[in-house]
């Protein structure tokens, strides 16, 4: 091999490596939470590298936008958000990230609330005396696994816009995800059948989509209004009503302060069910489907 042949071989090898790298370059997906991150992984497969801006055990209402989030979003191809004003904090990050692709209306922007049938959409005049109310309705729609399918479709839409060449793969994965949810939904419904119609006290109205999907009845909430802590009077009334009506379950998220629920549990004998609402809120909850397995398991006391 002469010197020129060796050079050409090296150049060709380098070009080949570059092409190979380019063909496997992953689409960078940034999501506002870990549920959407897992759904994005399901739809994008090996073609995407997904990262969530928040931790699984964060309260989605209380996130401080931080410069490190800007760094992530600046390099993203797709940005996936919950919408419905739950993640308004992300707008400050979007504004600073200098990435037009993921801005509202950009190719890589996906607001997963499109297509959702929102619950508890307030009617008439809204004012702060109603608590931290969301004008577009209750934003915790991902706790109905059926809405996970709608979110998955929104994510697939963004991936197809950014990477149209692999449309068929994303569509196929979307169909597969829908089938997985359909199968799991039957399983969860069957397991929760003994609790159907049971009265459940919630901490915050986070669980409304879940209770409606699985036929549980939201009896009342520990918070008298969204985001407002309970007064002693409210707790006393709630405890008296629970005793009278024999309410046996108090359901709340892993990140909530336990003291109010503990008192209710002590005085009424109700079972306290602490369950995650997001993937990675507990170390072994690693997928969106696994999240519902965990919630259902906790409700059944297993």
């Amino acid at each position: 091999m002469n010197r020129w042949t060796a050079h050409y071989s090296l150049v060709l090898a380098a070009a080949g490596m570059l092409l190979t790298t380019a063909s496997f370059a992953q689409i960078k997906v940034i999501t506002v939470d870990t549920n959407l991150a897992d759904i994005a992984r399901q739809i994008g497969g090996a073609r995407v590298a997904v990262e969530s801006l928040t931790r699984g055990n964060d309260d989605p209402h209380h996130i401080d936008p931080r410069p490190s989030m800007v760094v992530k979003l600046a390099r993203a191809d797709v940005f996936v958000r919950m919408g419905m004003d739950l993640d308004m904090w992300a707008d400050a990050v979007l504004e600073r990230c200098g990435n037009r692709k993921v801005q509202r209306g950009g190719k890589g922007y996906a607001d997963c609330s499109g297509g959702i049938k929102p619950l508890e959409v307030p009617k008439g005049q809204l004012d702060p005396s109603l608590g931290d109310i969301h004008a577009f309705g209750n934003p915790h729609y991902l706790l109905d696994p059926a809405n996970g399918v709608i979110a998955a479709a929104a994510i697939a839409g963004a991936l197809i816009r950014v990477d149209p060449a692999n449309r068929a793969e994303y569509e196929s994965r979307l169909a597969g995800f829908r089938q997985q949810i359909a199968t799991a939904l039957k399983r969860w419904r069957e397991r929760l059948r003994p609790l159907q119609g049971a009265n459940v006290v919630l901490y915050h109205r986070t669980w409304v989509y879940f209770t409606q999907r699985f036929g549980l009845r939201e009896y009342d909430a520990i918070e008298p209004k969204p985001g407002v802590p309970p007064s002693p009077g409210h707790l006393q009334t709630l405890i008296a009503r629970m005793k009278k009506d024999g309410v046996r379950i108090v359901l709340f998220e892993t990140f909530r302060d336990r003291r109010y629920a503990d008192r209710i549990g002590r005085e009424t004998g109700a079972r306290l069910v602490v369950a995650p609402i997001a993937v990675e809120a507990e170390p072994d909850v690693t997928s969106y489907i696994g999240l519902f397995d965990r919630i259902v398991g906790r409700l059944l006391g297993s």
Binding site: R66, M84, R96, G98, G108
Partner: protein, 434 residues
């Protein structure tokens, strides 16, 4: 099912109406009047209850709050055609609107201080914001302050543009709080204390540093490090008109010297801001800011700032933050030829929120004032905040220290002052990234 739920009250209503019709015949009218009145009242009461039940049912059906039967049905996985789709429910084409009231009380200050021992409205703020186009949005704040006789003025009004015309940077045009340090960009209702830290009031102004102009900012493409540079050309601007500017004191001396940066006309300003995440819940930031220009008498003025922030989030609601800022104000006296005068000041704030409802802080201020104002303030503040909702809070600040100038509050050795604050907010709005 629905039919069966509704049929009972409707049938009862029909039966009662028939009964009323029968009783309304002349024969029925001849019966004892009192008992008939009583019976009719009872019927009316029952019917009102039925009507109420029907109304509630209709309302429940309309609002979608009905308890649906559990179902295994899944929606079709329809991929949306555009990225614009989002849940509807609010009014379209209306900007987000928020109204914020900031009430303040200042206690234990000497007699003669305007506002002493009064708990009053300090400022009312109306915030408007809306996306305008892909990568373009506007933000405006109208504010009415007690110091300006509640005349409504434009505190901020700017458009932010992401990569305008495919340029490799972002831009902001309009009037705004300048990105000078960590605290200045934030509106007073977003601070973690009642009063402005003394060095900011001294060198940036009582209401902070504002500018009207434009800036560009660029985030360097460095992995795992936020490195942002912002450069702007601003015309110095007041937050809103003050009721009184220059004033004569009791001895008839006219005061020209005001605290604040002191620049009039063009004011180029720049900020370098670096931040690095230390794990998923901790962030460390450092920044440097600089602005320069000329005073109204032609003196050259330079203002430099340095800031440091460490914040960590041990759990969903708890937060620990350490923040410090230092400022150096340099004025080269061209009028009198007395040379260059540099004054400096700094503050350090440590705050801890153990949960979503409470926050506690301690702040140390130490500052001089821009030349030629003499004096110094040195103080320690203890701060407690209770949040009632996301936008409503009550705050108490106890401040102890020495003050040898009476620029904002009376000069006193060993003062103890108490500030009380109540902030309420209606509507949603965002704050700039800080």
């Amino acid at each position: 099912m629905l039919h069966s739920r509704l049929s009972m009250p409707i049938m009862a209503l029909a039966a009662t109406l028939t009964l009323v019709a029968v009783r309304a015949t002349p024969a029925a009218a001849q019966t004892d009047g009192k008992s008939e009145i009583s019976e009719l009242r009872k019927i009316i009461e029952d019917q009102q209850k039925l009507i109420q039940q029907l109304k509630e049912r209709v309302e429940a059906l309309e609002s979608g709050r009905t308890k649906k039967e559990p179902s295994d049905e899944l929606p079709p996985a329809e991929i949306p055609a555009t990225p614009f789709e989002r849940a509807s429910g609010g009014a379209a084409f209306m900007p987000d609107l928020a109204v914020i009231g900031n009430h303040r009380g200042t206690f234990f200050v000497p007699r003669g201080y305007d506002g002493r021992n009064r708990f009053e409205l300090g400022e009312l703020e109306i915030a408007l914001q809306q996306p305008l186009y892909t990568g373009m949005s506007f933000f405006a704040t109208l504010a009415a302050g007690s110091d300006a006789g509640f005349g409504l003025g434009i505190e901020e009004a700017y458009a932010s543009l992401s990569r305008p015309f495919k340029a490799p940077f972002d831009a902001v045009i309009g009037k705004r709080r300048l990105q000078f340090g960590k605290l200045n960009p934030l509106h007073p209702h977003a601070w973690r204390h009642v009063d402005q830290p003394a060095p900011i009031a001294a060198f940036l102004g009582e209401e902070g540093l504002f500018g009207n102009g434009s800036s560009i900012n660029y985030t360097l493409p460095i992995a795992n490090l936020f490195a942002n540079v912002e450069v702007g050309l601003w015309g110095s601007a007041e937050a809103h008109a003050h009721a009184e500017e220059d004033h004569d004191d009791d001895e008839g001396h006219h005061h020209h010297a005001h605290p604040g940066v002191g620049i009039v006309g063009d004011m180029p300003a720049a900020r370098v801001w670096l931040s690095r995440a230390l794990g998923s819940s901790t962030e460390i930031e450092i920044g440097g800011s600089h602005a320069f220009g000329k005073a109204d008498n032609g003196d050259n003025i330079r203002l430099t700032g340095a800031d440091f922030t460490y914040r960590t989030y041990p759990s969903a609601f708890s937060r620990l933050q350490l923040q410090a800022e230092a400022f150096w104000h340099n004025r080269r006296d061209r009028e009198e030829g007395t040379g260059s005068h540099t004054r400096s000041g700094h503050y350090v704030l440590l705050s801890y929120a153990p949960d979503k409802y409470y926050e506690y802080g301690i702040r140390y201020d130490n500052t001089r004032y821009p030349w030629p104002i003499e004096g110094r303030e040195q103080s320690l503040s203890l701060i407690a905040t209770q949040r009632l909702t996301e936008a409503t809070l009550a705050r108490l600040q106890l401040k102890l220290g020495d003050r040898t100038s009476d620029i904002y509050l009376p000069a006193r050795k060993g003062f103890t002052e108490v500030f009380l604050q109540f902030i309420w907010g209606a509507g949603s709005h965002k704050h700039p990234l800080q």
